[in-house]
C-alpha cells in the first residue's frame, strides 16, 4: 500500500501545502512517489496471485475432466452476478476518483459509499456461495465428497476446490482490506481533507480496488466457466 504518511499526509511544513511532507520538495514529487509506490505494490500483487494461477494452469491441463466437473458445481448465476457487481464497483470507484480530481466533495463521498455497498454485496454473495460448498461437501480437507459418477477423479477435484477456496478466499481477503481502506477514505473525504491539488489517497485506493477487480475478471472465467458444453 502507499505510504500511510502520504495518505494521511502528516505535515509540519511552514508555508507549504499542509499535506506536503518535509522530505519532499513539491506536492508533485510527493504525488509521483506515491503513485509509483502503489504501482510497485500492485506488481508484487500480480506475482502473488501468479503463483496460484500457475498451479491452476498446470492442473487444468493435467486433469481436464476434473476441472470441468468441478467448475460445473459452481453457479454461473452467482458468479456472473458478482462479476457485474464488482465491475460496477470499479466504475463507481473511478467516478469517485474523478469527483475528487474535480473537487466535488459530496459526489466523492457518494461514489465511495456506492463502491463500498457494491463490495459488500459481492462479499455477501460469496458467503452464500461458500455455504453452498459446505452443504454439498465440497470443502477440501474438511468434508470432501464427490458423487459416484466422479469417484475416479475425486483427488483432482479436491485439488480444484482447494485452488478455488484459496484463490477466491485470498481475493475476498483483499476485498475486505479494500473495504477498510475505503471507509478511511470516505471519512477523510467527509472531513474535507481532499482538494483538486491533493487527493492522492483516493487515487491510491482506487488503484488497489481496480486491481482486485482485475483478479476477479480472471477468476470468473477460470473457475466458473471451464467448459460448459460437456
Amino acid at each position: 500500500m502507499s505510504d500511510a504518511a502520504a495518505i494521511t499526509g502528516d505535515a509540519h511544513a511552514h508555508g507549504h501545502h499542509p499535506d506536503l511532507q518535509h522530505h519532499f520538495d513539491t506536492l508533485e514529487q510527493q504525488h509521483e512517489a506515491a503513485t509509483l509506490g502503489m504501482w510497485l505494490f500492485l506488481v508484487t500483487e500480480v506475482l502473488f496471485f501468479g503463483g496460484l494461477f500457475l498451479a491452476y494452469m498446470l492442473y487444468r491441463v493435467w486433469y481436464h475432466e476434473a476441472w470441468v466437473a468441478g467448475s460445473k458445481e459452481l453457479s454461473i448465476a452467482l458468479g456472473g452476478f458478482n462479476t457485474v457487481v464488482l465491475i460496477g464497483s470499479s466504475l463507481t470507484m473511478a467516478m469517485a476518483v474523478r469527483s475528487a480530481q474535480t473537487g466535488y466533495r459530496r459526489a466523492t463521498i457518494g461514489w465511495l459509499l456506492g463502491t463500498m455497498a457494491l463490495g459488500l454485496t459481492f462479499l455477501i454473495v460469496k458467503v452464500f456461495e461458500y455455504k453452498d460448498k459446505f452443504d454439498h461437501h465440497h470443502v477440501p480437507g474438511y468434508d470432501f465428497h464427490v458423487d459416484a459418477a466422479h469417484a475416479g477423479i475425486a483427488g483432482p477435484m479436491e485439488i480444484f476446490f482447494s485452488l478455488y477456496f484459496t484463490m477466491t478466499g485470498l481475493h475476498a481477503l483483499h476485498m475486505i482490506i479494500g473495504f477498510g481502506l475505503m471507509s478511511v477514505i470516505t471519512w477523510m473525504a467527509y472531513k474535507n481533507r481532499f482538494s483538486p491539488q491533493w487527493y492522492t489517497p483516493v487515487e491510491m485506493s482506487g488503484l488497489y480496488w481496480h486491481f482486485v477487480d482485475i483478479v476477479w475478471i480472471f477468476l470468473f472465467p477460470l473457475l466458473y466457466l471451464v467448459d460448459r458444453t460437456q
Partner: protein, 538 residues
C-alpha cells in the same frame, strides 16, 4: 563539496534519547541501526545453531543430540541465516543508512513505511523465534512438500507464518528504495553519477519486489495444505510435489542475488575508495547488477536437476545458469582491474574486501560445477553444495557486509574502531572460513549427503577439520563484535571523512545530522573522481 567542520554537534544519535524516540522514529538512519541490532541477534542465534551442528558432526555417531534435534538445528540455522540475516543485512542496515545520504535526500520516499518494515520484520522474527523455542522446526529451510505438509510434526506453521510476514518487510523495503532512487535524487545526480552501491540496491529491490510475493504465496499454499488439509501439492490427490519446488525456487534463487548484490555494491565502494581510483568499467559494473537481477529469474530449476523435472527442461535451465554467471564474471574482472595502478591504502575495510574477492570467487566458480548437469547429478544434496553456498553466502556476502560495515561504521557511529584488531579479525575469519568449508567440497564429492546427522566413519577426518575451522571462525566473529562494541565507548572521533572518500555521505558530519544535510547538495560529477580531485584532509 564542503566539509562541515564547524557544524554544531547535533546529530541523529544525540538529537533525542528516549526509547520512544527510537521506536517511533521515521529517520532512515535510526531505522538502519535498529535493523543492525535485530540482525546481529539473528546472526548470533544462527551462529549458535551452526556451532552445535559442527560440534555434532565432529564424530560420525550421533552422540551430542538426537536425530530430531539435529534436523531442527540445521533447519533453524538455515532459516535464521537466510531470512533474518543475509536478506536484510546489507539492504536494510547499510542500505537504509547510506542510501538517502548517497542520493542527497532527506529521507527515503516513505519514512513511515520504512518504520513499518522494521516492525513487520521484528514480528516475523518473533514468530520464528517462538517456533524455535517451543519445539523448533525440522523441514530444512526449503520446506519441501509433502514432508512439510503431511509428515513433519514440528512447528512448520509458526515458522511459515514468520517467513511469510518477514517477506512483506522485504517487499516494503524494496519498494521504498526503488521509489526513493527514482524520485529523490539530488539535483545533478544522474543515473550514471550514482554510486554503484545504489545500482546494486536498486537491482536488489527489483528482485525483492518481483520475487518475494511468490515465496509468500508458496508458503501460504503450504499453510492451507498443512493447516486446512487442502491439497495443492499433495501426491495423494494427484498433486505434484515438484510444483512446490518450482515455486519455492522461483523466489529462492533470485533471493540468493538479494543476498549477494548489495554486498557486491558495498565492495565496489570500498575498492574504489581504497584504490583512490575510478571503478574500472563503471557502466559494466552498474549494468551487470541489473543483468544479474533480471537473469536471476531465469535459472531457478538448477536446484531441481535430479528432483524430477524433464531432462529437456534441465538443459534449458543449465544453459541459462551459465548465462547468469557471466555478469558476475564481469564484475569480478572489473574489480580486479580497478586495483591496477591504484594508490592502494590497506585499511581494514579493504582487507575485508580483498578476502571477499577470494572467497566469492571460489563460491561462484563452484557454482559452475553444480550448474553442470552431469556433475550435479553426483553432487546434488551433498556437502559440495553446502560448501558452494557457504563460500558465497558467508565468504562472499557476510564478508562483503563486514567490509561495508567497517567502511561506514565511522559514519554511522562517529567513532573509529581499532584498525589492527579489525585486520587481525579479517585474517582469522579468512583462515577459519577456508578450514571450515574447504574440506566440505571434498566431502561432498566423496558422496557425503547433506542434512546427515550421522555419517560413515571414513568421512570423519574431513569433518573434524571442518569443525576445527568453525571454532576459529567463531573466534573471528566474536572478535569483531568485541572491537566494534568497544569502539562505541572508547573509539577515537572518526571525523567526517576518515577514508578521504568521495560520495555525498562523506560530505555531511559523522554521525550525520538528523535531516542529513545542512543544505541541499548539488552533484556535478561522477561518483569516483578520485584522480581529478584534491581531497581535503581532516
Amino acid at each position: 563539496m564542503e566539509m562541515t567542520l564547524a557544524a554544531p554537534r547535533v546529530d541523529y544519535l544525540n538529537e533525542k534519547h528516549t526509547v520512544a524516540s527510537w521506536l517511533l522514529t521515521k529517520d532512515h538512519k535510526r531505522i538502519g541501526i535498529m535493523y543492525l541490532v535485530v540482525v546481529s541477534l539473528a546472526f548470533f542465534v544462527g551462529g549458535l545453531f551452526a556451532s552445535l551442528i559442527r560440534f555434532e558432526l565432529a564424530t560420525p555417531a550421533g552422540d551430542l543430540v538426537t536425530s530430531d534435534t539435529y534436523n531442527k538445528l540445521f533447519t533453524m540455522h538455515g532459516v535464521a541465516m537466510v531470512f533474518f540475516v543475509l536478506i536484510p543485512a546489507v539492504p536494510a542496515i547499510l542500505g537504509n543508512f547510506v542510501l538517502p545520504l548517497m542520493l542527497g535526500a532527506k529521507d527515503v520516499a516513505f519514512p513511515k513505511i520504512n518504520l513499518l518494515s522494521w516492525y513487520v520484520f521484528v514480528i516475523g522474527f518473533l514468530f520464528t523465534l517462538y517456533a524455535m523455542i517451543t519445539g523448533g522446526v525440522d523441514t530444512g529451510w526449503t520446506f519441501y512438500t509433502p514432508y512439510s505438509s503431511r509428515a513433519s510434526s514440528t512447528n512448520v506453521m509458526m515458522t511459515g507464518i514468520g517467513v511469510f510476514i518477514t517477506g512483506f518487510s522485504s517487499i516494503l523495503t524494496g519498494l521504498n528504495f526503488m521509489v526513493t532512487i527514482h524520485r529523490m535524487r539530488a539535483p545533478g545526480l544522474t543515473w550514471f553519477r550514482l554510486p554503484l552501491f545504489v545500482w546494486a540496491i536498486y537491482s536488489t529491490s527489483l528482485v525483492q519486489v518481483l520475487g518475494t510475493p511468490v515465496i509468500a504465496i508458496t508458503v501460504l499454499a503450504l499453510a492451507v495444505e498443512r493447516g486446512l488439509g487442502f491439497g495443492i501439492f499433495d501426491p495423494a490427490l494427484g498433486g505434484d510435489p515438484v510444483l512446490f519446488q518450482h515455486l519455492f525456487w522461483f523466489y529462492s534463487h533470485p533471493a540468493v542475488y538479494i543476498m549477494i548484490l548489495p554486498p557486491m555494491g558495498a565492495i565496489s565502494e570500498v575498492l574504489a575508495c581504497f584504490s583512490r581510483k575510478n571503478i574500472f568499467g563503471y557502466s559494466f559494473v552498474a549494468f551487470s547488477s541489473l543483468a544479474i537481477a533480471i537473469f536471476g529469474f531465469l535459472v531457478w530449476a538448477h536446484h531441481l536437476f535430479v528432483a524430477g523435472i524433464s531432462t529437456y527442461s534441465a538443459l534449458v535451465f543449465s544453459f541459462l545458469t551459465y548465462a547468469v554467471a557471466i555478469p558476475s564474471a564481469v564484475k569480478t574482472f572489473n574489480w580486479t582491474a580497478t586495483l591496477y595502478k591504484g594508490a592502494i591504502w590497506l585499511k581494514a575495510p579493504m582487507i575485508w574486501a580483498i578476502c571477499f574477492l577470494g572467497l566469492f570467487l571460489v563460491g561462484g566458480l563452484t557454482g559452475l560445477f553444480t550448474a553442470a548437469l552431469g556433475v550435479d547429478v553426483h553432487i546434488h544434496d551433498t556437502y559440495f553444495v553446502v560448501a558452494h553456498f557457504h563460500f558465497i553466502m558467508v565468504g562472499g556476502a557476510i564478508m562483503g557486509y563486514f567490509a561495508g560495515l567497517h567502511f561506514w561504521w565511522p559514519k554511522m557511529t562517529g567513532r573509529m574502531y581499532s584498525d589492527a584488531a579489525a585486520k587481525v579479525a579479517a585474517v582469522i575469519v579468512f583462515v577459519g572460513f577456508n578450514l571450515t568449508f574447504g574440506p566440505q567440497f571434498i566431502l561432498g564429492y566423496l558422496g557425503m549427503p547433506r542434512r546427515y546427522h550421522m555419517y560413515p566413519e571414513e568421512f570423519q577426518v574431513l569433518n573434524v577439520l571442518s569443525s576445527a575451522g568453525a571454532s576459529i571462525l567463531a573466534v573471528g566473529y566474536v572478535l569483531v563484535a568485541i572491537y566494534l562494541i568497544a569502539s562505541l565507548f572508547n573509539g577515537e572521533e572518526a571525523g567526517d571523512n576518515p577514508w578521504h572518500a568521495t560520495g555525498l555521505e562523506w560530505t555531511t558530519q559523522s554521525p550525520p545530522l538528523p535531516h542529513n544535510f545542512e543544505t541541499q547538495p548539488v552533484v556535478t560529477e561522477g561518483a569516483y573522481e578520485y584522480s581529478k580531485r584534491e581531497i581535503k584532509v581532516v
